[in-house]
């Protein structure tokens, strides 16, 4: 089975998942990102790498934050950005997903940034473009269902590398709703590819998917045991609709057992960093004292996120 995101000679055609990306490709993206990271501090926050290119943000599922960071990244690369809120347009008129894609490709799009509620939707689009001689139009997965959120995974790696330099000796804990998290899946693939010492997943059994161990993860249901001696803690957002029901009895009980408090964080290494993909639920998965504390790197993640998205777009655009 051929992964549609790589060309036969190993070049990146689309960014759909971190799974199967060569380590050298991940490193190349992170290195490129570091060349963009200080751009925001300059008087003129732009480079002309994508001048004349059109980036279409296709958000089939709502998102303000991710869409905005992609928009900023495109603009800093001097690309033209077109935002499409697809729910409100063509598909509700009965047009199929692939018809929409063909129409937009005919408007000379160079890149599609796709968010979709269904796992695998960006694959359908990328495969279609590859099979219809439109592979010059690149697809970036900006989050598909529970499957992947590769730019978030990459910006998490950038953040870890920034604070820890080397991945080889690290123990990383991912905490919370692993079951429904595309961020967790992308982080796990990235961390195992980059060769960290150990990846841990911590959560109640209702939120740990079956077969997770086969992704190279050690499972913990006890937060205190799972946090012992870790270098990095990645907290996941708990969606409102999952806070009470058949998966969890209440947000309060979740916080009591899996919320990141200063006392629990003290079990990690003294220089451990705390990450969160946002938006945070203070008092549900993370205590404010930790979220605003000296070990939190949650805001730097956002800043790095723009540089990483610029790096991905710039590499896909052939720079």
């Amino acid at each position: 089975m051929h992964n549609p995101q790589l060309s036969p000679d190993g070049e990146l055609l689309h960014l759909l998942t971190i799974e199967g990306l060569p380590r050298a490709m991940i490193t190349r993206i992170l290195d490129t990102a570091s060349s963009f990271v200080n751009l925001g501090d300059r008087e003129v926050k732009k480079v002309p790498l994508m001048r004349g290119k059109s980036v279409f943000n296709l958000f089939f599922e709502n998102s303000t934050r991710t869409r905005t960071t992609f928009e900023i990244a495109s603009k800093r690369l001097s690309a033209d950005v077109i935002n499409l809120n697809i729910q409100a347009s063509s598909t509700s008129k009965g047009e199929s997903l692939l018809d929409t894609i063909d129409n937009l490709a005919a408007m000379h799009a160079d890149m599609f940034v796709v968010r979709h509620a269904q796992s695998g939707a960006p694959y359908l689009i990328a495969n279609h473009l590859n099979q219809t001689q439109q592979a010059h139009v690149h697809v970036i997965n900006a989050g598909d269902g529970r499957h992947a959120h590769p730019t978030q995974g990459l910006l998490d790696m950038y953040t870890i590398r920034h604070y820890k330099q080397d991945f080889s000796g690290l123990t990383v804990a991912i905490v919370g709703d692993i079951m429904h998290s595309r961020v967790a899946r992308s982080d796990i693939h990235a961390l195992t590819t980059l060769g960290v010492a150990e990846v841990r997943a911590i959560g109640p059994r209702t939120l740990l998917p079956s077969g997770l161990e086969q992704m190279g993860v050690r499972l913990f249901t006890n937060m205190k045991e799972g946090l012992k001696g870790v270098d990095v803690v990645i907290m996941l957002r708990l969606q409102n609709e999952r806070m009470s029901g058949a998966l969890l009895p209440s947000a309060q009980e979740f916080f009591k057992n899996y919320g990141l408090t200063p006392e629990r964080l003290a079990l990690a290494k003294p220089d451990a960093i705390v990450m969160h993909p946002g938006p945070m639920n203070r008092g549900v998965e993370i205590d404010s004292a930790v979220a605003d504390g000296r070990q939190a790197v949650i805001l730097p993640q956002v800043t790095f996120g723009i540089a990483v998205r610029m790096a991905v777009m710039s590499i896909l655009a052939g720079n």
Partner: protein
């Protein structure tokens, strides 16, 4: 019309025959095997050199999509697909629109099928009105209209009370109830086997427990009612253990498997290939291995095509939105042969075993005098070249459904000629 089929390799699992013999047909019936009958005027000679002459295939699950889903497929297109696949008799589930829950609808369908003079169509009636799992259908009248059994298609009954009553009522008339074992709640909305692949791809899962819990319930009900039940499209190793034990216990059950599940696993989903979106979902390697073994030891009686044509509009979608199902009528023989070639140790038994699972065994479940070559039987035949390989591609399929996870495969066994009621209805 008198036919003489000469030089063929006659394979008839019902009589354990596998030898070169001629076949003589008159007035739609087989009149002699080996030597011609005393007085026999030949109208047509068919040279079957190099071909296997087998009974026409009997498929236990083929959706023809009529009435209601003619945009996906029609009786015309799918019965054409059937004869191109050597299928001369097929069972169609009641999940049409409207559902086959009224005698008039069943009569209309069988009448239309008869007029086309192609494969024999044996409909399953709905077990409950609208397949809603609430009220029983008029089973006795549906049987008079031509239903050979009763089924819920892919919609499990939520209320165990209703299932019990349905089994009791069916038992009153000695009808067979066809059920696919699935818990009505556990795994509902799931689109892939609960396991490593679904977790990695972020697809919601259907656990094996969904099948085993349903089987436990069903067997307990059968112990009480004594109803004959045909278990459709078993998918898991654990489920097969339960079926094996039930058969050993002497419960009146039979069992089939969809041809896809004999060969493929969850891994074949690859990068979200919607062609591998099937119900029940493709399961793990150990499940597939258990299915192959269960066909050898008889726990699974027959292989069905589980034919479910789906059009582009409903398949070229993200995996979770794509309609489940794949085209199968034209692949059934090849997939049965592929199984036998890979799993039957004795090379002399390969063709006989493959044909058995798609003719004699499935006919026995139906209790109809079809699927065998004997003097006096209807002349429904399938002539195929067991050594020929063909490539599965949309252009090679007559079915209106072009989607199958076997696209691009080279499969063994090509049907060359199909005979129904003594008439050659298809010649490649």
């Amino acid at each position: 019309m008198n036919l003489h089929i000469q030089n063929g390799r006659l394979v008839d699992p019902a009589s354990q025959t596998d030898s070169q013999q001629d076949l003589f047909i008159s007035a739609g019936k087989i009149v002699a095997i080996g030597a011609p009958p005393p007085v026999f005027h030949v109208d047509q000679v068919i040279d079957a050199s190099g071909l296997v002459v087998a009974p026409g295939l009997v498929d236990l699950a083929a959706r023809l999509r009529e009435p209601g889903y003619e945009y996906k497929a029609t009786l015309d297109s799918e019965l054409q697909a059937a004869i191109q696949g050597g299928v001369t008799s097929l069972v169609c589930p009641p999940d049409t629109d409207p559902v086959l829950d009224e005698p008039g609808l069943v009569e209309m369908l069988t009448q239309r099928a008869r007029n086309l003079k192609q494969a024999h169509v044996y409909p399953l009636g709905a077990l409950t009105v609208g397949l809603k799992g609430e009220a029983l259908t008029e089973m006795a009248q549906l049987a008079e209209a031509g239903c050979i059994g009763f089924s819920q298609a892919d919609l499990p009954i939520r209320e165990t009370t209703v299932l019990l009553r349905a089994l009791q009522y069916a038992r009153t008339f000695d009808f067979t109830v066809w059920l696919r074992p699935q818990d009505p709640c556990l795994g509902r909305g799931g689109i892939a086997h609960s396991g490593a692949v679904a977790s990695r791809l972020g697809l919601s899962g259907v656990p094996v427990m969904s099948e085993t819990i349903a089987l436990h319930t069903l067997f307990e009900l059968i112990r009480s009612t004594g109803t004959r039940v045909h278990i459709c499209r078993i998918s898991s190793a654990n489920g097969l253990e339960l079926v094996r034990a039930a058969k050993r216990e002497g419960l009146p059950v039979s069992c089939d498997v969809g041809a896809h599940h004999v060969h493929l696993t969850e891994v074949d989903i690859g990068f979200f290939d919607a062609n591998a979106r099937l119900d029940p979902p493709l399961r793990a390697q150990r499940d597939r291995d258990a299915i192959r073994q269960a066909l050898l030891d008889g726990t699974i009686d027959a292989i069905c095509s589980d034919h479910a044509p789906v059009d582009d509009d409903e398949k070229l979608l993200p995996f979770g939105e794509a309609s489940p199902g794949a085209t199968g009528l034209e692949l059934l023989l090849s997939l049965a042969l592929k199984w036998a070639m890979e799993c039957v140790d004795d090379p002399r038994q390969v063709v006989l075993q493959a044909v058995d699972k798609v003719t004699a065994r499935s006919a026995a479940i139906l209790g109809l005098p079809i699927g065998k070559l004997e003097v006096g039987a209807d002349a429904d035949l399938c002539l195929f070249d067991p050594a020929a390989y063909w490539r599965v591609e949309p252009g090679a399929l007559a079915s209106q459904g072009k989607h199958t996870p076997f696209l691009g495969y080279e499969l063994p066994g090509r049907v060359q000629l199909t005979v129904i009621g003594g008439h050659v209805v298809f010649r490649r």
